[in-house]
């Protein structure tokens, strides 16, 4: 028997990937697909119809957003003023530290921005939106998405996961290649408002 065939049995019977692993990998791929779907292409004659369709879609989006905004305004007027909570998360990683300021209006878009960086994050600017947040204490978790621009480098699409509060962990993952590298560490937070 060939020695190489012995290795066919190496670690046989390992568990298959579970649903959670598959979901996370799917999300990672979806992140990779997203910028490509919105990439602007050089127009050609054949794309005339497509451009018309895009224009029609844009008009539709404007109409829907306007209607939605009016709806939100009505909701605000009927429910009272928008209350804005703000949070500051100080993240200490292996490559440096930075502060993230989160803004949570009771209605509307939740967003974040970076401030006060040191090390790899010195004079880094940027921010974005918060598509996912929830839980409390040890189960609390927020996903921040957006762009960061380190000093003297191009802006880079990243995602930051904050978990647990007031004290917990953070994980910064670059979604595009660039100056910023993957980083993780501890975070401490406090809320105002």
């Amino acid at each position: 028997m060939d020695e190489l065939d012995l290795f066919r049995g190496f670690r046989q019977g390992v568990t298959p990937p579970d649903a959670e692993t598959q979901r996370r990998a799917g999300d990672r791929l979806a992140d990779a697909l997203e910028p490509a779907s919105s990439r602007v292409q050089v127009p050609s004659r054949r794309q005339g119809r497509r451009r018309l369709a895009v224009l029609a879609a844009a008009v539709l989006v404007v109409v829907v957003v306007t209607a939605s905004a009016l709806g939100t305004a009505r909701a605000i007027l009927s429910q009272g003023p928008v209350h804005v909570y703000t949070g500051t998360f100080r993240c200490d990683g292996k490559r440096g530290s930075f502060e993230v300021h989160l803004r949570f209006p009771s209605t509307g878009t939740r967003n974040w921005r970076i401030a006060n960086g040191t090390g790899a994050y010195l004079r880094t600017t940027g921010g974005g939106r918060i598509p996912e947040v929830g839980g409390s204490g040890h189960a609390w978790r927020a996903r921040l998405e957006g762009y960061l621009a380190p000093e003297g480098a191009r802006q880079q699409r990243i995602a930051i996961i904050l978990s647990e509060r007031p004290n917990g962990a953070f994980l910064l993952t670059p979604l595009h290649k660039g100056a910023l590298r993957r980083d993780s560490g501890t975070q401490s937070s406090f809320w105002t408002g």
Binding site: E3, L6, R8, G9, F10, T15, L33
Partner: protein, 214 residues
């Protein structure tokens, strides 16, 4: 945006031309050039195989990270794929190259497994069976793998775990077939030297757990 894993393989309704209801890998990749979501079918089809390959090579934790990275990278580099039947060998090649960034960790892991006989990195369907029947020979195999050069180990494990042929390994690692033959020959010599005792003592397949796990 829909998660790629949630893609269905159902053909679009209203098409005039009669098409194969399950598009090939070549068709999926070609379609993904204009419809990125079509790449989700590649993910659905091959994620399990790529994850299992990485799991058997480098343990569960690394497999979780690198399998996800493999598909993201494959998507961004899909125009480089030399379309030929299944995309799986090419995906194995990307996974193998990603694993190269962790080759020291992989080697340390294999050495420790060979030395202690305890596999703390992989998770098994049936822990008891794996420990009783697989660990003894597996540990010797791990020692042999740790003794090989990285590219020889790559070629061997693409052959043994991913079950690729010589041509497919050459495609996956982007080297000539002759180089693959050389690497496998050297891997064979190392394996022969490291496993000399094991091959004399035990009827190999009876102790690798093939029947039990398969």
């Amino acid at each position: 945006m829909r998660r790629p894993g949630a893609e269905t393989l159902a053909p679009a309704s209203g098409t005039v031309r009669v098409m194969d209801p399950v598009p090939t890998d070549v068709e999926c990749v070609a379609r993904s050039l204009t419809e990125p979501q079509a790449f989700g079918m590649i993910f659905d089809r091959h994620f399990h195989a790529v994850h299992t390959y990485l799991h058997r090579r480098a343990g569960r934790d690394l497999a979780d990270d690198l399998a996800a990275e493999t598909f993201a990278l494959a998507y961004s580099q899909r125009t480089r794929w030399r379309a030929s039947g299944s995309i799986l060998p090419w995906l194995y090649g990307i996974a193998t190259n990603l694993l190269h960034h962790h080759r020291r960790a992989e080697r340390r892991q294999l050495s420790a497994y060979g030395r202690t006989g305890a596999d703390r990195w992989a998770t098994y369907d049936d822990e008891t069976v794996a420990r009783l029947d697989g660990s003894s020979l597996d540990a010797r195999l791990a020692s042999a793998l740790a003794a090989m050069r990285p590219r020889e180990r790559d070629a061997l494990l693409l052959y043994a775990l991913a079950e690729l042929g010589y041509e497919e390994i050459a495609l996956a690692l982007d080297v000539p077939v002759g180089t693959v033959r050389t690497w496998l020959h050297r891997a064979r010599l190392t394996a022969r030297r490291e496993l000399a005792g094991a091959m004399d003592m035990t009827p190999p397949l009876a102790t690798t757990g093939v029947d039990l796990h398969g």
